[in-house]
Symmetry: C2
Subunit: 281 residues, 2 copies
């Protein structure tokens, strides 16, 4: 069962190490990369674990280069895993033609439709295969993990938490896609991966999942820029309303003047680490 | 005399704005870009100014995306200008053929040799034209500026400070090229820009300039990674010895385990802002 992982890069950062590994994913049936930050505290013992899911078109690199997370991972003693955003190089017709379908655009769902269903199972990869690999290879406290993400990855983080009550201690998101079926850039991929039935698509809709949530207490933090160029596709207010109905604790910070990118994320990353620390420590 | 500058991008960051502008440079005879971070304090008054010079192959983007400087520029109330690393698009034969000659590789000198001498005058651009543009267009305190940089840009920052006694309140560098004529990746460009005479090349050699420095007190901070893959080309110890002979105050921090890249820079950027704050405030 032990997965072979291969170190691709290693850079000292804030007293710890920012590393990238590759491995063969049996869930996705292709090779994948993930980034992992190991804080200085990981040399002496086990650490809490924070997963980060990136947005459309990203790889495992965007977050580790631009978010400024290592400073706070080092301070709090968190291992941070940044996943890739889709399978790659699967030779599916059209997988590299559009920025919002195929490569870089998994939507973090498990596809049910041919030809996508063989490889595009990022949800299962993120909640099952990747955690197993991390637990086998790194000094993590497996019962102390949380998840966060940006845009499509914010949607992914909300899905993972809402579909797995109790698995993550907390969840946070920067500018998440909160109602996937209403997000115009998602619609073609949703149809291709899941078919045209809205009922099937809504199985992966954070707002619909929040309405039906019936698990242990769940804590959600969302930061949203008010000058976000994608704001009309994100629907954070609708999501927070659904959470209130299901007694999910959610904080939505609307941030004046901020847009959708990493200058926004880096401005509030400290705040997200402080939030997760309340639940992970 | 007023230079027209054109805003290319604007992103809110840590309560201020990270912007990029383009303009025509009459010194370089081509269009150039620079990045400028305006902290929240710049809305109400004038701010100290910190120039950053990047390394080989970089543009104005690397530093603003990867160094995490905006957090500390906002805290300290510093305007931070990140310059590009060379003229661009000058149609000089061979300007785009090598990573260490031409585009992205100005070495921050004023070339004397054809065909480079018409455009490759980055030293004059950095110490004269760019400051004039910044002072005309932004709320800076012109008598309170400092300079720092990385690798080739660390060399550039040291040159600018050593050749202009009193102009900069302080200077710092990450992994600077301290003895340009001993730096293998510099040698072809030095010959092309300045000719083969070592005496001419040494006019742009920080170690040689430090030996002859005879200005007001100068304060220099250097951080150097001990796992830096270019360490044999940098010669920081030689530079600090030359500074000691000239009674220049220099602190050299050798950092165990760190390499040459932005993971190293971001780990110590806070420290460089604190250093400059002692002289700029």
């Amino acid at each position: 069962m032990a997965s072979m992982i291969t170190q691709e890069s290693c850079n000292k950062s804030f007293g710890g190490y920012q590393k990238v590994f590759s491995h063969y994913s049996s869930v996705l049936e292709c090779r994948m990369k993930f980034a992992i930050y190991l804080p200085p505290q990981a040399e002496d013992g086990k650490c809490p674990l924070l997963y980060y899911l990136s947005g459309l078109t990203c790889t495992e690199q965007n977050f580790i280069q631009k978010a400024g997370a290592q400073r706070f991972a080092s301070q709090h003693g968190f291992i941070v895993v940044a996943a890739d955003t889709s399978p790659r190089g699967c030779n599916i017709p059209g997988e590299d033609e559009k920025w919002n379908v195929g490569t870089g655009a998994s939507l973090y769902v498990d596809a049910t439709q041919e030809p996508w269903c063989k490889h595009y199972r990022m949800y299962s990869y993120i909640v099952s295969e990747l955690p197993a690999i991390i637990e086998q290879n790194f000094p993590v406290l497996p019962d102390r993990s949380s998840i966060f993400g940006h845009s499509m990855g914010g949607h992914g983080a909300l899905l993972c938490a809402l579909l797995n009550p109790g698995k993550y201690k907390s969840v946070s998101a920067f500018a998440p896609v909160c109602n996937s079926v209403k997000c115009a850039p998602f619609q073609e991929a949703l149809r291709l991966y899941l078919g045209s039935d809205v009922h099937e698509q809504n199985k992966w809709n954070a707002t619909e999942l929040a309405k039906k949530y019936d698990g242990p207490p769940l804590n959600i933090l969302i930061d949203q820029g008010m000058e976000d160029e994608f704001l009309q596709d994100l629907h954070p207010e609708e999501f927070t309303r659904a959470c209130a109905e299901s007694r999910i604790s959610v904080v939505l910070n609307m941030r004046e003047g901020y847009d959708h990118g990493y200058y926004f994320i880096s401005s509030f990353i400290e705040h997200h680490f402080e939030y997760h620390a309340k639940f992970l420590k």
